[in-house]
Each structure stands twice: as structure tokens, then as C-alpha cells.
Subunit: 256 residues, 2 copies
């Protein structure tokens, strides 16, 4: 039974896409059958894997409004164990169009039901908001992975996200657990990073993942070549960190 | 007649709030009567100016749904020429509640009409999306200031934003102009920054503002003290860059 992990945080630019793409790629490298869903209208997860959106027919929006099945819009990637469902710019309208639809918060959950047994992991990259797309992803997920930059503004948004997670638990998904809080773009040289890390560890203790992702320019370069970090530069500190994160996620899944 | 500048980009974490807060503070330091509107449910612009949201009664959401006038929700800040209208977490619901309202895209434009002659500049900090909040801000604005990180993913989103601006021009605001594209978090040492800068200058030439904001950790530290950069560390490279930006914005406004 595939585990669904939603990568979300309404704060922008915290490393959601970088985490979703690289976690999915490392899971595939460890021969776990993985599906990455790009649920952000910006489509960064597609380009992070070198998939040209305007070259594909189907996308996730057709699935959540009920026109197509998941299997009809799934595309393969450069990696054998990794498949992708692209997003589309039309997702921007989804927030407005879904509002008056039946079961508007659980359309992704229903769509994923048949697909779960075909994959070991299903990773969902969310947009930077707490609207209907993120709510759909939280309602469909087993766990939520929360990337957070080691910056002051990112710290502020965390309690808002945790409150939303509790609301989703109460209304749509009682079993929603937290995979963990992932510290990203950590720069050990700055006092700011050190202070934010300490603050998060004090408030969230156990829920903070052991792996910390360092700021590493190779992570920013890789998407311009359409490659995940382990294919672009496997010796980089960014690749090492995402391989460590993947070991943690696999061991959490196996412990159950 | 006050000039309304919308600071927007649906890509997250590109420096919208940092730009809105510091531009507004530098305009106030230049004795321009300035109003900063925090239109992002995260409320980062409030904390960037040291205003505790839970300490204030009124906020921008009450204005756009028609319960309160702008003057009823305006609060003063540490700086004499700078006032703020706080956001609220309820703005998350605005995207859904506004959908079925009359004139849903132009509610901010109507609300600002009486306030325009009381200020020289009205700056609007937008959330990272192209939903109804950002549309309201673009419909109300004279110009749009587009911060963009010197990173690959940020480059991808620019054409989507420019298309939305054209749509807003056609439907709600024919005079909407581009204040400029502002390069932020520039790190001259990395090849990535240099490549992205070149790419933007080639594609967008004239529309790129002369001022480039360097990556400067002092800009990330300032919000944790609730101060704009010119009050936190006026000698920093971040403060110098935002003072230069402000000169550019003032001279653009005076040229008309
Ligand atoms: N550890 C890192 N070191 C250096 N750069 C990074 C790192 N993680 C992410 N980046 C870069 O920082 C920027 C923001 O990351 P990313 O786009 O993954 O964040 P996001 O949360 O998905 O943003 P959005 O909110 O827009 O969806 C990107 O340009 C990315 O390449
Ligand atoms: N020039 C800079 N140098 C260093 N850090 C910066 C710079 N500009 C912004 N930052 C930091 O980078 C992070 C992202 O900036 P900011 O929050 O202003 O972006 P945003 O576009 O408003 O994000 P969101 O999309 O979530 O609204 C913040 O933690 C901020 O303090
Ligand atoms: Mg993203
Ligand atoms: Mg912001």
C-alpha cells in the first residue's frame, strides 16, 4: 500500500519543490516505485525533472475535476522507478472552480484510491497557500512533510500550518500524521540560521527530522538542467542530504 | 494623488515582503506620506514593521468585504510618515468567500479610491499566488513591482505573471503599468545568479530596474527585531540597495 506524503508549507520559497523532486528521485534510486504529483500551477516539479509541460496531454487538474483517471495522465521520467503527473496553469482557476463542487476538499483523495497499490510512495508538491489545492493534498495524505527555511518569516508561518493540519484531521483525514519538519537552506555560518534552528528544535522537538538540508548552490543549478540533484551532482552536499532524508523517510515508513 | 504600487509575484520567497516593507520605510524616511497594505494572510509585512497583529482590531479583510472604511483600520508605525493596514489569517478564506461576491476583483480598487489623496505612495504586499487577492491588488494598482530571485525556478514563473498582468489590463485596469522587475538575493559569486541576471536582462531589457538587491543576511535578521533595514542597520548593503531602489521609484513617479 503506497504511502502518500504531502510536501506543504504556505510560506513561499522554503524548498517544497526542491524537497519533493529530490526525495522522489532518491526514493526511485532506492528502487521504491514512486509517483510525484505536481500540484502547483507554477509547474516547477515538472521542470525539475526535465518534463516539458507543454509537451504533455494530461495533467492533475483533469483528474480532480473528474475528466480523466490517474493512469491516463501519468508520464514516465528519466528514472525507471519514478513517474510524474504534471500540473497545468489551469490549476490557478481550480481554487475558484472547486469552490462550488461536491466534495471539493477530497477530490484528490478519491482519485488516488485506485492508484495506491501501484506505488510504494506518492509525493505531492503543493503551492504556497492554504487554499483548496493544499487542503486536497492534506486530505489525501498519510503524512505531511514540512520544509522550512532557517529564516525568521518562515518560522512565523509554522503555527498557522499546524492549525490547518489539525482542522484537516478533524474534518477529512483523522489519520493524518506529521512526517516531520525539515530544516532547509541551512547556513551554519549565520547567527540567524542558528537561532531559527534552536527555536524550532525547542518548540517542535521530536517532530524535527534529523536530516538538515544545507544551502548548496548545486541544488539551485540542477533544475536548469532538468535533473534531480543525484543525477546532476551526486557528490554535492545537497545530494548527500537528500539521500539521508530518503533513508529517514523509508525507515519511518517501514516502522509504520 | 497617491501612487498605488502592487508588489507581486506568484513565485514564493522571492523577496516581496522584504521589498514592500523596506521600500515603504525608505519612502517614509524621504518624507513621502506612505501607506503599506499587508495583503498576505501570513502577515509578514506586519511583523517586519514590529506591529503585532493580535494587538489590532481592524484589518484589510473587513475593508474588502465592506464592513469598515480604510481609515478605521489604519495603524501608525514607528516611523512618522508610514502607516500600515494589517492583514489577518481570515484572508485565507477570502479567496473562497469573494468568489460569489459582486465586483470580486475590484473591491480593493473601490476601497482605495477615497484614500488616494491622503498619501504619496500606497504599497501593497501580495501573497504568493495569482488568486483573487493578487488580482484585487493588480486591479487597484497604478504600477506593479515584480521582485524576482536570481534563481532558475523564479525565472520560469515570470511569463505567467506578465500574462496575468495583461489580462488584468484588459478587464479591470487599462492603465496598469510595470514599475519594474527587481532582481533580489543576488550573489555575484555564483554562476547561477549571473546566468539568471543575463537571461532576464536579455528578455526584459528596459523593464529591469537598475537597482539590484544583493543577498545580505542583515535583511533576514531585521524582521526578527520588527524593524525595516534602515532602522536595523543603515550601513548594510541591504539598506543601501533599498535606498537606491526608493530613489528610482520616486524619480519614476515624478517623471510620471
Ligand atoms: N538547500 C538549498 N540550497 C540552495 N538553494 C536552494 C535550496 N533549496 C532550494 N533552493 C532554491 O531556492 C529556491 C526556492 O526553493 P523551491 O522553489 O524549492 O521552494 P518552494 O517552497 O517550492 O517555492 P514555492 O513556494 O514558490 O513553491 C529555488 O530557486 C531553489 O532552487
Ligand atoms: N536580499 C536578501 N538577502 C537575504 N535574505 C533575504 C533577502 N531578501 C529576502 N530575504 C529573506 O528571504 C526570505 C524570503 O523573503 P520574503 O519573505 O520577503 O519573500 P516573499 O516573496 O515575500 O515570500 P512569500 O512568497 O512567502 O510571501 C525571508 O526570510 C527574507 O528575510
Ligand atoms: Mg514550489
Ligand atoms: Mg511575503
Amino acid at each position: 500500500m503506497g504511502k502518500v506524503v504531502s510536501v506543504s508549507n504556505q510560506k513561499g520559497g522554503v524548498g517544497k519543490t526542491t524537497t519533493a523532486v529530490n526525495l522522489a528521485a532518491c526514493l526511485a534510486a532506492a528502487e521504491r516505485k514512486t509517483l510525484l504529483i505536481d500540484f502547483d500551477p507554477q509547474g516547477n516539479a515538472c521542470s525539475g525533472l526535465g518534463v516539458q509541460r507543454n509537451g504533455v496531454e494530461g495533467h492533475i487538474y483533469q483528474v480532480i475535476i473528474g475528466n480523466k483517471a490517474l493512469s491516463e495522465v501519468t508520464v514516465s521520467t528519466e528514472m525507471p522507478w519514478l513517474e510524474l503527473i504534471p500540473s497545468t496553469i489551469d490549476l490557478i482557476g481550480a481554487e475558484i472552480e472547486l469552490v462550488n463542487m461536491e466534495g471539493r476538499e477530497t477530490r484528490l483523495k478519491e482519485a488516488l484510491r485506485p492508484a495506491r497499490e501501484n506505488y510504494d510512495f506518492i509525493i505531492v508538491d503543493c503551492p504556497p497557500s492554504l487554499g483548496l489545492l493544499t487542503l486536497n493534498s492534506l486530505a489525501a495524505a498519510d503524512t505531511v512533510l514540512i520544509p522550512i527555511q532557517c529564516e525568521y518569516y518562515a518560522l512565523e508561518g509554522l503555527s498557522m500550518l499546524l492549525r490547518t493540519i489539525q482542522q484537516v484531521r478533524r474534518s477529512f483525514n483523522p489519520d493524518l500524521a506529521i512526517e516531520g519538519i525539515l530544516l532547509t537552506m541551512h547556513d551554519g555560518r549565520t547567527l540567524l540560521s542558528q537561532q531559527v534552528v534552536r527555536e524550532i528544535q525547542v518548540h517542535f522537538g521530536e517532530r524535527v527530522l534529523r536530516t538538515v538540508i544545507p544551502r548548496n548552490v548545486r541544488l539551485g543549478e540542477a533544475p536548469s538542467f532538468g535533473k534531480p540533484i543525484i543525477l546532476y551532482d551526486v557528490r554535492s552536499s545537497g545530494a548527500e542530504a537528500y539521500l539521508n532524508l530518503t533513508r529517514e523517510v523509508i525507515s519511518n515508513a517501514e516502522r509504520g
